[in-house]
Symmetry: D4
C-alpha cells in the first residue's frame, strides 16, 4: 500500500512549503474513486486489491451495469460482470465488441491484455453436471486473474472411483475448488485425499431437503477434514477470487 | 396376522350357537394389551411385529419404567429400555439379576433365551469415536433381535483409505448402518462403494453449524447415491430395528 | 464385486510374465467409466450396483441429458431419467422410439428387455391424490427394477377406515412405501399396523406450515413406530431404489 | 359485559346531578384492577372472562408469585399457578394450607368451593407416558373450571388398536384434547375417527429431529383432517382453558 | 356412530341364520366409500362427521377434481372445493349450473338445499384488507355448514379504536375467527377483550421477516391470552370447520 | 390527544342538559373513521399520529387501492401507496393528474401542499446499487413528511474508504438510515463512526445464504455498536417514518 | 468531531516548522485508546459518542472485567457493566465502594456525578412481570445517561384495559421502550395508540414456540403500525442507549 | 504422494519373483494406520497431510483420548487435542510431563521439537475480548505448525479507528484470521482494507438473535468483499490449519 508513502510525500511537501495546508487537507480527502450518482466505482482497486472492481449484476438495471462497466473499462483493461442477463451483454457488445458472455453462468468478461500467468494451478471439481454454471463462473474468474485452471466435472461421491481415478489431477494442483450441491460430501472427501487447501462452494442444485443449498453448506462447514473453507452458496466467483489470492 | 382367522372362528362359533352375540361383541373388543393406568403395554406385539415393545426411557420416571418392564417380562422373555439412567438399571437389577446395562448409550437389555440367529450380517460403521454410544444402542438392539453384527469404528471420510481398506467387511454384510455426526458424508460414500441397503443415522456429535445433528441429517437426506434411507438423529435403536427387519 | 478377482488375475499375469509392469499399472487405472467432458457416465454401475446409472434431469440441459442417455443406452438396455421435461422426451423419442414418458412425474423410462421379476411385492401408498406424481416416479422405478408393484392411493389418516380396510394389501407386501405430504402421519400408522419395513417419502404437497415438505419430513423422522426409514422430500425414485434393494 | 350498563348509569347520574363531571371522568378511569408495583392483578377477570387470572410461574420470583397469589385469593376463591417449583408451593402452603401441588407439571391449584359441573365431558388423550406432565396441567385446569374430565394415556399411533379400542371414550366426549410429542400424528387420527373438536397440544417429548416440539407442532398444524386447532408446545393449560370455553 | 349398532345387527342375523359367515365377513369389510382409482371418496362422511368430504384443489388436476366432485354430488347435496382455479369452476359449471365460485379465494361451493341455521353466530375478523381471500374461504365454509356469519374487515391493532369500536359485534358472537398476517397481534387483543373462543388464522400477508406467515403463526401460538387456538397459515376453511363444530 | 377534552365537553353538555344520555352514549361511539366495507379508513390519523394513513399495496386489488385512496384524499392532502404496480398508478392518475410514481420501489405519492420543512436532516445510506429501490421508498416517505434528505449510495464496507470519505455527511445528519443487503455490516460501521441514531434496514439483495434478507437482519440485530435499531427487511417506508418521528 | 480541527492544527504546525514530518505522522496514528493486551479500551468514546464504553460482561473473565473497569474509571466517571455476576461486583466493590449492582439483570453501574437531566421523559413498558430484568437493564442505563424514566410493568395485551388505562403515561413520554416476550404484541398496540417513537425489545420470556425470543422478535419486526424499531432479544441496554440518543 | 511409487516397486518385485502374488495382495491392503478397536489412528498422516492427526476431544472419554494420544506420540512428536478438559490434561501430564494446556480453549498441545518456521506471518484478529478462547485455539495450532503468529485483540467495528490504527499489522501478514461473534462484520471490513486472504471464524459469542453463532456465520458467508472464506462456528483450529496450508 502506497498510502503512507503518499501521505509522507504530502507532509514533506507541506513542510517544504510546496503546498498549502488547505490543499493538503483536500488531497487527503481526494481518494481515488469516482461517483456516478448511484454507484461508487472503485477505480483504484486494481492497485489496492490486485484486481479491478467486479460488478455483481443481480438487482442492477441494464443501464446501471453499462454505466459502471464503461467507467471501469475507461480505467482498467479488465471487466467482470456476474449474474447478469444476455440482454445486458448484447448492449455492452455494441460498445465493446470483444467482450464475452457465458450463458450458463450469466457472466460477462473481458481482458484487454491476457494477465501474466501464475505458476500454480487451480483445480475446479464439480460433483455433478448441474453444478457446471457455478464452475464456469469460477473458471472465467480464475483465468481473468491469471491462473492455470484444470476442470474436473461430475466426480461426486456416489461413484467414488471417479475421483480416486483422478488423483494425479489432485496432486498437481496448488489449490482446489470443490463445487457440490445435494449433500456436498465431495469437499471432505477431496480434502482427505490430498494436502491442498480446498475451497468449498455449496450449490443450490438439488431439491427437497437440500433447501436451496443449506444442506451442502452445512456439510462443508462441518467437514471432519481440516483444510476446507467455505464460501456462499453458488458463489463460484468468490471461490475463484480467494483461490487466486492463495495460488502462488 | 391371524386376526381374520380369529374373526372367522368367532363368527363360526356364533353361527353354530357356541357363543352369544354379546360375547362375540366383547371378544372383538378384547384386544391383547394391558392397561397400567399410565401406559398401555402392548404384550402381544411380539407376535404382531416380531419383537416385544421397547421402552423409550426418556421422560419416564423410574417407577414407570420398572412397572412397564415387569409387565413385559411377565409376558415376553426380552426387555429393551433405551435412553435411561444407571439408577433405573440398579433398581431393575434387584428384580432381574441377569439384565445388562450399557453406560455409554444408557440402554438396559435382557433376553431370557438367545434369539435364533439370522444368516445375514449387519455391519455397523461409525465415522468417529464419539459416535460410539449410538453404535452401541444399535449393536445391542441388533443382537437382541438375532442378527450377526460386525462393528467398524472411526472410518470417517477425512481419511478415506480407512473405509476403502475395509471393503471386504462392506462386501460380506447384508445391511449396513452408517452412524455419523459432523458432516455425515460417510453414508453416501459407503453407499457408492457397494450395492447394499444403507441405513443412515445422523448423530449430534459436532459443534457450531452441526446444529445438534441437523447438518448430517440433511447430508444423508440429500445423498446423491441411491440406496440410503435415514432415521432420526442419534436413533441407533431405530436403525437397528429397521436393519433387522430387512436382514434375511 | 469382481475387483479383487480382477486384481488377482492381473498380478498373476504379471508374475507369469504375461504382462508388463507398465501395463499392469495402467490396467489398475483403467476403471470402467467414460468421460463425456461434462459427465462421467458410470457404465459399469449395472454390474457394481445392480442397476445402470440414473439421470437426475433437473439442472441439466436437454443436450446434456441426450448425450448421457445415448451413452448409457449404448451400454445398458435400461434408461431412467427423472425430473425432466416433455421436450427432452420428444427429442429422445426420435432416437429411441420406444421410450416412455410420464408427464405427472416428468420421468423418461425404457427397458429393452423386461427385467426378471422378483417374488416379493412392493406396496406404494399415497395419503392424497396430489401425491400421485411422486408415486408414479416410484412405480416406474420399481417396475424397471423388476418388482411386482401394488398401488394404494388416497388413504390418508383423516379417514382411517380407508387404510384399515386395505390391511390385506399391507399383509401381502414385502416392503411398503408410504408417500404423504401435509402432516405425513400415514407412515407411522402403517408401520404400526404390520411388521413390514416402511420407506417414508415426505412430499411438498400442502401449504403454509408444511414448509415445502419439512412438516411431513419431521413427522416421519420422529415416527414413534420403529420400522420407518425416510428419504428426501418428493424422492419417489430413491424410495423405490431402496425398496427394490430390500425386496427379496 | 356490564360496561355500557355502568356507563349509562353514570351518565344518568350525571344528567340528574347526582354526580359531578370530575367524578364521572374519574369513575370512567377507575377500572377494576389493582397495582402491586410489578404486576397488574386483574381481579375482575373472573367476571369478564369467566375465570380468575392465572399466574404463569416461569420467570417470576417466589416473592412475586406469593404476592400475586394473595391478591387473587383475597378477591377470588380460585388460584392457579403454572410452571412453578415445589419451594413456592411450600411457602404458599403455610398461608393457605389447603392448596395442592402437582409435582410432575409444577402446578399449584386451589378452589375454595368446587365449581358447578358442566354437563359435557372433556377427554384428554396422551400419545405416550412421557406426555403425562402436560396432561396433568390440562386435567387440573379443566377440573378447576368445572369440567368432567376423562383421561386416556399412552395410546399413540404406533399401536393403533389402542385408540381404536377406546372409541366409546371418544364418542362420549364433547371436546377432545390430544397431547403428543415425537411425530404428533395422534391428533389427526383422533380427529378422523369422530366428529368432535380436537385441541392438539404438541409436546417437547422426543429427541433429535423433534426439535423440542417443532415436529409435532408442524404435524398438528398441517393436519389433513379438519376439526383440529393447535396451542403452544407443552401448553396443557391453554388447551384446557380453550376446551372449557367450548364445553357445554 | 351407528357402527356398533350395525355390527350388532349383523351378528344377530348371523346368529339367527339369516346370513352366512362368508357374507358377514364381507359385510364387515364393505365400508361406505367408493374407489375412483386415484381417490377414495368418503361418501358417508356426511353421516360420520356431519359434513361431506371437502376437496383440497391444490395439486389435483382439473379432471381429478371434476370426477371427485361428481361422485360427491351424486351422493350429497353439498360441494366444497378449496384452492382451485376458475377454469375448473367453468368446467364444473357446465355440469352443475348452480355452483358458485369466489375468485379471491379460489373456492367452488354449492348446496342443493340451504342447511338448517344454527342459533349461534360466528364472527370473522380480519386485520387487513389483504387478508380478505382467507376470510372469504372461511365465510363460504361457515355458511355452507349452517352458521350465521358476521364479517369485520380491516380492524388491525395499528388503530386499536377500530376494534374497540366494534365490541358489540364481539359480544354477540358465539365463536370468533381472527385472520391476520404481518405480526398477527389481533388474536391476542380480541381474546383479551371478550370471553369467547378465538380461532386464529395466520396469513401469508406481509413481506420480509413475516416469512410467509411464520411470524403471525408464532405470535398466535404464543398468545399471552388464554382462549386462542391456531390453525395452519391461510387455512380459512379449517378455521371455519372448527368454528362450526363448536358453534351451538 | 383531544379525547379527554372532547369527553369532558360532552359530560359538561350532558350535565347542563344540552344533550341527552342517548346522544352522549352515541357520541362516545362515533369515532372518527369511515367504513368502506372492506377497509376501515382512519381519516383522523393525520391528527392522532401526525401523518395520514399509508396504503400498503401488496395483496390489495387495484379497485380496493383506488377506493381507499379517494377516501384519504377527500380528507387529507397527502397520499402514500407503497408496494403497488404501475397499472394502479395509471388508473389513479386519471383521477388525480398530479400524483407521482417511482417505478423502482412501486410507490405512489402525492402532497397537495408541501409539508413544512424540519430543521434536521436525514441521511439515507445504501451499501450497494441494488439497494436503491428500498432507498427510494425511504426518500419519498421522508420528503412527504417534511424532512430534508441526503442520499449516499453504494458505500458498502468492501471499500471502507468510500464511507470514511463521507464523514462530513454523517456529521451533519440528525438521523441516519442505513440500507444494506448481503451481510449488512454497514449499519455497525456507520454507528461506530458517529454518535447519531442509526435505523437499519436489511434488504433482500443477495443470494444463497443471505436467505432473502435474514443474514443482514441478524447482522443488524446483533450490532456490537449501540445506537442501532432495526426495521423489517426491505422496509424503507418504516425506517423513514421512524426517522421522521425522531428528526427534530 | 474535533478530528479535522486537530488535523488542521497539526498540518499548520508542520507548515510552520513547529513539528517534524515524523512526529506529524506519529501524531496521526496516536489515536486515543489504550491497549490492555486483550482489550482496547476506548477512553475517548465519551467525547466521540457521548457516553463512555460499556462492558458487555458475558464471556469475559472477572479479571478482564475488573481491569477494563479500572481503566475506564481512571478516565471517565461512569461505569456500566452488563450481563455479569454478583462475584464480579463484589470484587469491584472493594475497589470502588460506591458502585451498585442490580441482581435481576446482572448490571453493575456507577456515576461519579449525576449526569445533567434531559427534559424529555422515557417510558419503559413491560408486558409481564418476567420481563422485569430486561426492564431494569434499560432503566439503569437510561438514568446513567441522564434521562427521566417512568416504568409501567405488566400491561400485556391479554388485558387491554391495563394499557388503555395508562394513556396519560404514554402521552407524556418523549420516547417509549416496549419490552415483551411470548407473542410481543404490545409494541404494535402501544405504537397504534400514540404518535411516539417505540423501541421494541423482544424477550426470551416464554416457552415452546417462542423459541427463546424469535416469536416476539418477528412480531415486532412485522409490526403493522409504523413507528416501531427493534433491538436484539433481551437487549434492554441497547434499547435504552438508542432511546437516550433520541430523547430531547 | 509416494503411493504410485510404492505400488510400482511392489509390481516390479512381483515381476522379478521377489514376492508372491499373495504377499503383493496383502501389501496393497496393508495401509499405514493402526486399529485401537474404537479409533483408527492415522499415523502416517504426518507424511500424507503435513501434520499428524488431531484429536477432537468432545464426546470422547478420557481413556479414549489418552490411548489415542499415546499412539500418536509413539509415532509422531506432535500432539494436539482440542475441546477437552483439564482432567484429561492432568492424566496425560503424568505420562508426558512436558505437554501444555490452555484452559480458556481446552487445548492440549506438545511438540517434541519446534517445527521449522515459515517465512510468512499469520495475523489473528478478534472482534472482542470474549472471542479469545477461539483465538487461543488458533494461535496454539498455528505455532505447532511452524507459523509466525501475530495477535490483535478486541478491534471490533464498533470503534473502527481501532482496526484502522493497526493497518501496518494487516499489511505485513500473509494470511489473516478474523474471529468475531455478534454480528461478525469485522471480516468484511478487514478484507476490504487489504489484499490478503481472510479466513473468517464466526463465534458463539453474543446472545438473543446471534443464535449461537448463526448471525456472524451468515454475515461472513455473505461478505460483499471477495477474499473471505469461512470455517465452522468457534473453529479456531480449522482456521489455523487452513491458514497454515496457505502460509508460504
Amino acid at each position: 500500500m502506497s498510502m503512507s508513502h503518499r501521505t509522507r510525500k504530502l507532509l514533506n511537501d507541506l513542510r517544504r512549503g510546496k503546498t498549502s495546508v488547505k490543499r493538503a487537507l483536500g488531497a487527503l480527502r481526494d481518494l481515488p474513486f469516482k461517483d456516478l450518482g448511484f454507484a461508487k466505482v472503485d477505480v483504484h482497486r486494481a492497485l489496492r486489491r490486485g484486481f479491478p472492481e467486479v460488478i455483481f449484476g443481480k438487482g442492477k438495471t441494464p443501464d446501471q451495469i453499462i454505466k459502471i462497466s464503461r467507467k471501469i473499462l475507461s480505467h482498467d483493461g479488465i471487466l467482470l460482470v456476474t449474474r447478469t442477463e444476455e440482454s445486458v451483454y448484447k448492449k455492452l457488445k455494441r460498445l465493446y465488441p470483444k467482450i464475452k458472455f457465458d450463458k450458463s453462468s450469466g457472466i460477462i468478461h473481458y481482458a484487454k491484455n491476457p494477465p501474466p500467468l501464475k505458476s500454480g494451478r487451480v483445480l475446479v471439481i464439480t460433483a455433478g453436471t448441474a453444478d457446471m454454471p457455478v464452475a464456469e463462473e469460477a473458471r472465467v474468474t480464475l483465468e481473468l486473474m491469471g491462473n492455470k485452471v484444470e476442470m474436473l466435472y461430475d466426480v461426486g461421491v456416489a461413484g467414488l472411483h471417479r475421483i480416486l481415478h483422478k488423483r494425479h489431477a489432485l496432486e498437481r494442483a496448488s489449490v482446489i475448488i470443490v463445487i457440490a450441491g445435494m449433500e456436498g460430501a465431495l469437499a471432505s472427501v477431496v480434502s482427505g485425499l490430498v494436502s491442498k487447501p480446498v475451497i468449498a462452494v455449496p450449490t443450490s442444485v438439488g431439491y427437497g431437503a437440500s433447501f436451496g443449498g443449506i444442506a451442502p453448506l452445512l456439510t462443508m462447514m462441518n467437514s471432519c477434514s481440516p483444510g476446507v473453507a467455505v464460501v456462499n452458496i453458488d458463489n463460484g466467483f468468490g471461490a475463484a477470487y480467494f483461490a487466486s489470492m492463495i495460488n502462488r
